[in-house]
Amino acid sequence: MASGIVSIKVNGRAEEVVTGAVTTLQDVLRNNLDYTSVKDGCSQGGCGACSVIVDGELRLSCLTPVQEVDGSEVVTLEGLNLSNSITALQQKFIEKYAAQCGFCTPGMMVAITALLDRNANPSRDEIAEALAGNICRCTGYLPIIEAVESIVAEMAGIAGD
């Protein structure tokens, strides 16, 4: 792919970025547009810390050439912070101590949002499956899965915990 100009909408804002031959969506979001919640843990699709939502689908921004998403709508955690739904999930993460160093947390938030958007009532197995691409090295996955279960239960109107 040659260099050129790519137009994307990020968190509701139209952006035009000049790209090189191998510009990733991650690089554009982090370094051109300063969306620093998009973390760079491996640059090779192994850790999930760079997860974003592109046209409603969960994507690893480090493996996504930005030219491939020309004309798309991209949402990062900064964008989700503006909505009410993520606030409740964030509160559950705090209550369940589901974050420690915090480096994987933005990617987790995005991946969980993508899951709940397509399945409002996931089972424990479905939660674990949906987060299989997001590595956490501190807390372990149990409090994270419990935080999601807890928000699912609340959304379903069942008593949580």
Binding site: T36, A99, G102
Partner: protein, 448 residues
């Protein structure tokens, strides 16, 4: 004090930065934004052991986007360092940038500083290092044999030398050989652990920013800010007052960011170029270059009586430090003190030896020194139980240390809780123990 009187212990405490972790607003070192930032990439050794005959940086220097290239000749202060030198550990044995030899595959040789990471990488590939390959050694026991390839004149026999010329951290307590002769059983085995990468989510890195007042601010994710500051000051031959290290937010460490790795060379690069410089390890560097937990080889010989009492324990341990010392002499001494385990044994002999090999230098990881020891000892405890036909829980309860016992390294046991811990674990696991064991206490040896 009863649990109910405790205000913090047993209560969850909220992390100070949890609120911004969940919104992604926590600022990690890499999230700091500075204008006109340069990028540093390292040319690394291709060989585990080789003499450096020449370093040619000319093609790299003329490569697009390159601002400068640094080799050992550019170091203003110390060329060798050890993080614990300030605590009297030495000699300083590790080069900041290799000069006479490389001693492990991946060792830092020359740093390229360029406008973009891609340009820095392209120039790294253009550095030509002429090597004379040397025989390498990768096994701890091979390394200390006569005639093994020697890594450095600092360690003529490829092992660390403790004060008073001791080759090992040692414990001598009672008479092990006499007790072996009196024991009903001898149980002997060897244990080997592997190097383990800490694999934090965020790789090692830092950003060094020259300030208008002549100081340099370094945003780092190190777990050991003070060590990094001291070592950097020594290497740059600068007073520490000229360096401002900003840290505290670490994207996972587990010991893997205790090393002094990116800071000194990045700070020098900022000083030389007058511009902010970032050095971030790739995931590959994090796996292959940043230190791992050491591999340990542990030989254990125990003398045991029919009633389960361990009356003698002899341990010889070889810690694979890799090519340089780093914190190994500390870890090995901790290992030595730990090796009787949480058991009272009247005759103990331990030798634990730091060995240098042509492997990636090892360093801290959660409980380094102790974990390998506990692994060896607790597998050994199960083997003893099997050998003498005793329940492994009962064997541990019989030997567990009690309040006031003298440990092999001459430290009296205080606040003993081993017996109670085992009993609590047994209850949780649904393990049925005979009444005399259930009545045991850390306060005395009467029951059992």
């Amino acid at each position: 004090m009863a649990m109910k009187d405790l205000k913090i212990v047993g209560q969850p405490v909220k992390l100070r930065d949890l609120d911004t972790h969940v919104t992604g607003e926590t600022v990690f070192y890499e999230d700091v934004r500075v204008p006109r930032m340069l990028h540093l990439k390292m040319h690394r050794s291709r060989y585990p052991h080789a003499r450096i005959l020449g370093i040619d940086t000319s093609q790299a220097l003329s490569s697009p986007g390159v601002v400068t290239v640094l080799t050992h000749e550019d170091l203003p202060g110390k060329k060798l360092y050890n993080a614990l030198a300030g605590a009297g550990v030495g000699p300083e044995d590790e080069p900041v940038l290799a000069f006479d030899k490389v001693r492990w595959k991946g060792e830092s040789v020359a740093a390229v500083i360029a406008e973009t990471p891609e340009q820095a990488n392209a120039a790294v590939a253009k550095i030509k290092v002429e090597y004379e390959e040397l025989p390498a050694v990768f096994d701890v026991e091979e390394a200390i044999k006569d005639g093994a390839p020697n890594l450095t004149a600092h360690w003529p026999n490829n092992h660390y030398v403790y004060p008073d010329d001791h080759r090992a951290a040692q414990i001598r307590y009672g008479d092990v050989e006499k007790a072996f002769a009196e024991a009903d059983h001898i149980v002997e085995d060897s244990y080997q652990t592997q190097p383990i990468e800490q694999a934090p989510m965020e790789t090692n890195g830092c950003i060094a920013v020259p300030e208008g007042d002549g100081r340099i601010t370094v945003y780092s994710n190190t777990q050991a800010l003070q060590f990094s500051l001291d070592v950097t000051a020594g290497i740059l031959d600068m007073p520490t007052s000229k360096l401002r290290f900003v840290g505290g937010t670490v994207g996972g460490g587990f010991g893997g960011k205790v090393d002094i790795q990116p800071e000194p060379i990045t700070t020098l690069a900022a000083l030389r170029t007058g511009r902010p410089v970032k050095f971030k390890y790739t995931r590959e560097e994090e796996m292959q270059v940043s230190s791992s937990r050491s591999a340990w080889r542990v030989y254990v010989k125990d003398g045991v009586m029919n009633d389960g009492r361990i009356i003698a324990r002899k341990v010889t341990t070889y810690q694979d430090s890799g090519a340089y010392l780093r914190f190994s002499s500390y870890a090995c001494m901790k290992h030595c003190g730990h090796m009787p385990g949480p058991y009272t044994i009247p005759n103990v002999s331990v030798d634990s030896i730091v060995v240098f090999t042509n492997r990636t230098p090892s360093n801290a990881m959660r409980g380094f020194g102790v974990m390998a020891g506990s692994f060896a000892l607790e597998v050994q405890m199960d083997k003893i139980a099997e050998t003498i036909g005793m329940d492994p829980w009962e064997l541990r309860l019989i030997n567990a240390y009690r309040e006031g016992d003298m440990k092999a390294h001459r430290k009296e046991v205080e606040d003993a809780g081993m017996v109670e811990s085992i009993l609590a674990a047994a209850e949780m696991a649904g393990k049925q123990l005979p009444e005399n064991f259930r009545n045991m206490s850390s306060l005395d040896r009467k029951a059992g």
